[in-house]
Amino acid sequence: MNRREFLMRMGVSATAASLLAGLPSLAFGGSAAQRRRRLVFIFSPNGVIPDHFWPETTGKDYDIKRILSPLAEFQDQMLTIKGICNQIKGDGDGHMRGIGCLLTGIELFPGDVQGGSDTPAGWSMGISVDQHIKNRLQAQADTQTRFGSLEFGVMVPDRADTWTRMSYAGPNQPVAPISDPYQMFDKLYGQTKNRQMLASVLDDLAGDFKRVSKMLSTEDRQLLDRHLNMVRTVEKDLKTEFAAATKNDGVQHAVPKLPPNIEEQNDNMPQITEMQVELLVNSFLADFARVATFQITNSVGQPRMRWLDINEGHHGLSHEPDSNEDSYEKLIRINTWYAEQVAHMARRMKETPDPSGHGSLLDNTTIVWTNELGKGNSHTRNDIPFVMIGGGLDFRQGEAFDFKHVPHNRLLLSILEGFGMPEKTFGNPDFCGDGPLTGLI
């Protein structure tokens, strides 16, 4: 709950609010506010090219390879975590389990979706870690936000299946990401925007009421006059509301402006990504949510990065053997492009002061960039990419780790621990045996 909502719930008027803010018990904002911890999971598909992704050295002075080079400027705030393996077995092909078990750490239900050569499967049997954290945050008055979590997508196909869902609200409850920035905008700002739109047409409306009114008898005009008065009242109320909002909120509630008429098409992917990043950053700024997923395409995603002069689909390329130099090079460039998007998000957070007064947004947000596979052509779920940037978790920063070969459930436990919500197990307990990873905190 932010200051304005709080005051509104208390029924305090705008004028009274500015007076009350002087009282210690009602003072919000500034340094007195609690730190807002945040977490974002960014997903990109089809594995990486490990030799050009992972640092060769571990520890503080780690080296940065080609794919991670766009993130070099964040080296001090970054962690690369190698040796994390998605060991969940059961139904579903590698890509399905790769995405469906990634944040849930548990098997998929039996089902009828057949992929590759494995058995068919349905949805995940458990909640994902982002939704788990969201539920915990929403259960507490001081960490509750309007949405709790937001699920962004970029060019996720309009298809509900195991390959297109990463986040789960519970067993058999996949959460659909919103890929259309305008739809996300409506979700976030629809009401405000609609009210502004209403305010901006009311004058024209009132004018036309008068034109119509001229055609009427005195008696019929009475009803229309009453109606027009109502329109005027709405207009007045909106003015008061906006005045109060501007006075109380300032920058935190600024509504971002999206470029017009961008269709959800492959070639617009860079622009859509940027729009979604903008909406995400602004949502954190306005404290709409503290957890988010940012899913770029889907497991087995097929974007064609023509803006990089790559005409083949990503998934198709990812199956090519390493000996195919052309594909190999293209895959490096594709993954570098994903890294640029991560870097852009991190940069936007770094340059945005946190409204709670504790540094920048990035100082209080951890971006976790991950993938459904370690490497595309082998479909391995060993060495799944995990790169973290920012200070939302109580983790060390600016180091490269290699845990050699540990189940990824343990990293999920670490994330919970780092978020201040330690658990003994998460997902399938069989993979949680040794608890959270040591050394990260």
Partner: protein, 810 residues
């Protein structure tokens, strides 16, 4: 200020005879039926309980006598003034007390001592109530057509038609069920189509067997397609249960309402709630797949169910499914506040903030649909048009607004509603939403009859669509009629042509929705109300049975209404009903189906002469007009006298609690009612009420036919004195039914109910000659209800608004 009384249902004024005018709305009985064994405190609710006539008549009569004797020579018999004496009209806003003081001190002029104290008070009261006060003047004014905004129903219907305009209108489809294609493949494959048929409903448990011959059980695909027909506006829950992969598309071919593309163990129930609108047909497509797999296959099943308003979950019955996939349509989800129905029909005569905000919500919602669904559709159709300077967008918006405003838009209107709004925003989607927000909030849309400046054909079509569909003209053929000015009343043979157009319009599901609403109102049955009965006495009368009863009543009404003769009299004397297995089991042999059938489907019953009289004695009606465990001859009598015969009744002198049957275990219901209403002050009305209500005593509290009560034979004798003073005696419900079928009182009442339901204006506002003509035409058509509705629509379409007449004469 009290509600204006000018537009009270005309029956109250016209037929009130000597009764003092009262502002009572129609049936105002509280039907709350309390729990088992509780004393039934059914309050015969009063708005303003007048004191007994005997007490109140006194001062009024005295006041009148004095007024006539001492005042009328100067002031006129009705206070209108007399030339040469006191010329001004005797009207004002003084209270009775103030008037009495003035009269006592000053009147009659020159001899004030002639009328003082109680006399002055009596005169004051008399003139105040008869013509002096504002309320009295409103009461005395002839009823008028009143400017109205769209009602909630009209707003929803109009938006649906504005939307359908771009996709094409739905048509009438006689067949029922959904068309089904069974494929011996995991997807649509023309060459592997094995069975093509109509399935009456979707409720299958194939198990591990093949669904049809020629299809392997381990991999198949079924495509069901058609539309869902909705008879009542309200909140519906669509429920699908399935163990297999399926998708349900609904309303719009691209709108996946339920997406279970992934079959996942344990996820077998899917629910979606939405607001749906009466008379609309929503395209509905199901893609059902049993997928081949290496692992163990679940048994295949699927059922398509719903929970209709006030109902329980049931498989969607065949009568609500049509095998044709209708064009995309739109159902408004924004909640609208209810309209004033105090005159017996919804009226859009009040404007308040709640309504204003709801309209804004509706406009925003429609704007999104216009942006996401209508605009792409328009673009597809006008691919070749130039979009320079956003011309295509302007054309699209002009077409949308033309339909919304029901007339061609002039330059100024176009500037305000389109050009100015497009200039304000660059994004096309934003611009569309903005235009919709403005247009739907506009008086040009919200007040359909504010169209004095529209061409005559537009005005006629607007009234036809408003009367028949609660909507606006949007069908292509009707718009063509307008364009060619073929509905202009000035044209030769205009009335005949307008009648043809109205007749063509009646053959439409939209009319069906409005007709059903009218019948339920006339029969005093709230389709979504719960009816609970004593389970010791009426075991099996549960919510599922009530829902079947509602289906049965709807089918029975629909059957009569849509038959060639559309004969109103069959509503009283028909001896068949629609039945199914559950109803048959509960109601016994009189509900035997005509021929064998599957358990769920509604079929026609065998005739049951002597036990059934049209829809009048349908259990849905009879159980509504009953208590928890006994019948209520009083409710039934009041219903007959007010609704069916169109007579007025004063409310009871005070609120009574019916005598608890347990206090008189030996008395029949009839005997108990006589005991309670025997006093002479009650008999003034109850003589009329009981005489009608008793004739239905053969139908118990759940509408089951009975011949005895408490081991005594049922006495169903009764009687009625008609408007013209004829005394009629009834030996049974049969006599009553035959009488009602032919009664002029009932016919007039029905004409008025139909008129006011469809036009939403008082019939009397159209002049007494209109009522006479409609009744005469109704009789001459052998009481054809569809033709009556056509005549009503033609009347409303051609009859000029009073104000216009006034303007013309001025």
């Amino acid at each position: 200020m009290p509600l204006g009384l000018a537009n009270l249902p005309s029956r109250q004024r016209r037929r009130d005879g000597g009764d003092p005018p009262t502002a009572q709305p129609m049936a105002i009985f509280d039907f709350t039926l309390p729990g088992a064994g509780a004393v039934l405190a059914v309050a015969l609710a009063l708005l303003t309980a007048p004191t007994c006539a005997a007490e109140s008549a006194d001062p009024m009569a005295r006041g009148k006598a004095i007024y006539v004797e001492q005042c009328a020579t100067c002031h006129g018999a009705e206070g209108q003034g007399e030339s040469g004496a006191y010329e001004a009209e005797l009207v004002g806003d003084a209270s009775v007390g103030e008037l009495a003081a003035v009269i006592g001190d000053t009147m009659p002029e020159g001899e004030p001592e002639l009328c003082v104290d109680q006399d002055a008070k009596a005169v004051a009261q008399y003139i105040h109530e008869t013509f002096y006060s504002e309320a009295a003047r409103l009461r005395n004014r002839p009823p008028q057509q009143q400017l109205s905004r769209l009602t909630a129903e009209q707003l929803q219907q109009s938006l649906a038609d504005m939307y359908e305009h771009f996709f094409g209108s739905a048509w009438t489809e006689k067949k029922r069920g959904l068309s089904a294609n069974y494929f011996n493949a995991g997807r649509w494959d023309k060459d592997k189509l094995k069975v093509e048929r109509i399935d009456p409903a979707v409720d299958f448990d194939f198990g591990r067997e093949a669904p049809v011959e020629g299809v392997t059980p381990d991999e198949f695909y079924i495509h069901w397609a058609g539309s869902l027909r909705v008879d009542h506006t309200g909140r519906y829950e669509i429920v699908v249960r399935s163990t297999c992969s399926f998708k349900l598309r609904f309303g719009h071919r691209d709108n996946t309402l339920i997406n279970n593309h992934v079959q996942s163990e344990g996820k077998t129930e899917f629910r979606k709630a939405l607001n749906l609108i009466a008379g609309r047909q929503y395209p509905l497509l199901i893609d059902f797949t049993q997928r081949k797999r290496k692992t163990e296959m679940p048994p295949a099943n699927i059922s398509l169910c719903w929970v209709p308003p006030g109902g329980v979950e049931e498989v969607i019955p065949p009568e609500n499914l049509v095998p044709a996939t209708m064009p995309n349509t739109f159902a408004l989800q924004a909640k609208l506040p209810p309209d004033d129905e105090s005159y017996g029909y919804a009226r859009g005569t009040s404007v308040n903030r709640q309504w204003e905000d709801a309209v804004t919500q509706a406009a925003l919602e429609f704007g999104v649909a216009a942006e996401k669904e209508l605009w792409p559709q328009y673009k597809r159709k006008h691919r070749k048009d130039s979009n320079e300077n956003r011309q295509r967008l302007r054309d699209f918006l002009a077409e949308l607004i033309g339909v919304a405003f029901r007339q061609p838009i002039d330059e100024e209107t176009r500037k305000i509603y389109i050009d100015k709004q497009l200039d304000a925003v660059d994004d096309d989607g934003q611009a569309i939403r903005r235009v919709c927000l403005l247009a739907i909030n506009s008086p040009r849309f919200l007040y359909p009859t504010l169209d004095q400046q529209a061409p005559a054909s537009n005005r006629v079509a607007t009234r036809l669509a408003l009367t028949l569909y609660d909507s606006l003209p949007s069908d292509e053929w009707l718009l063509k009629e307008i364009q060619k000015d073929q509905l202009n009343p000035e044209q030769p043979d205009a009335r005949e042509h307008i009648r043809e157009v109205a007749t063509r319009m009646t053959n439409d599901a939209r009319l069906h929705g409005k007709v059903m609403e009218m019948f339920f109102h006339w029969l005093d049955v709230d389709p979504s109300a719960e009816i609970t009965k004593d389970q010791d006495k009426f075991e099996g009368f549960d919510r599922a049975l009530v829902l079947d009863l509602r289906r049965s009543l709807e089918r029975s009404l629909s059957d009569v209404f849509w038959s060639d003769a559309s004969d109103y009299r069959q509503l009283f004397v028909g001896d068949r009903v629609w039945t199914n297995q559950r109803l048959n089991e509960f109601y016994g042999p009189a509900w035997d189906p005509e021929e064998s059938h599957d358990a769920f489907a509604m079929v026609r019953s065998k005739p049951a002469p002597g036990e059934r009289y049209g829809v009048l004695t349908h259990p849905m009606v009879m159980s509504h007009l009953s208590y928890y465990d006994t019948t209520s001859p009083i409710h039934r009598g009041v219903f007959l006298i007010r609704r069916v015969l169109g007579r007025t009744l004063r409310p009871p002198n005070e609120a009574f609690t019916p005598i608890n049957p347990e206090l008189h275990p030996d008395l029949t219901t009839r005997e108990r009612v006589i005991l309670q209403t025997g006093e002479s002050k009650c008999q003034v009305c109850h003589e009329k009420i009981n005489g009608l209500g008793f004739t239905l005593e053969n139908f118990d509290a759940v509408g089951r036919y009975r011949t005895t009560e408490k081991d005594k034979p049922i006495d169903a004798t009764g009687g009625y004195v008609s408007q013209d003073g004829t005394q009629v005696d009834f030996g049974s419900a049969e006599d009553l039914a035959r009488y009602l079928a032919e009664s002029e009182d009932a016919q007039r009442a029905f004409v008025e109910v139909v008129f006011e339901h469809f036009v939403k204006q008082p019939l009397a506002a159209y002049g007494s000659e209109t009522a006479e003509r409609l009744v005469k035409q109704f009789r001459e058509s052998d009481f054809n209800m569809r033709r009556l509705i056509v005549e009503v629509a033609v009347t409303a379409a051609i009859h000029p608004h009073q104000q216009e007449k006034a303007n013309e004469s001025a």
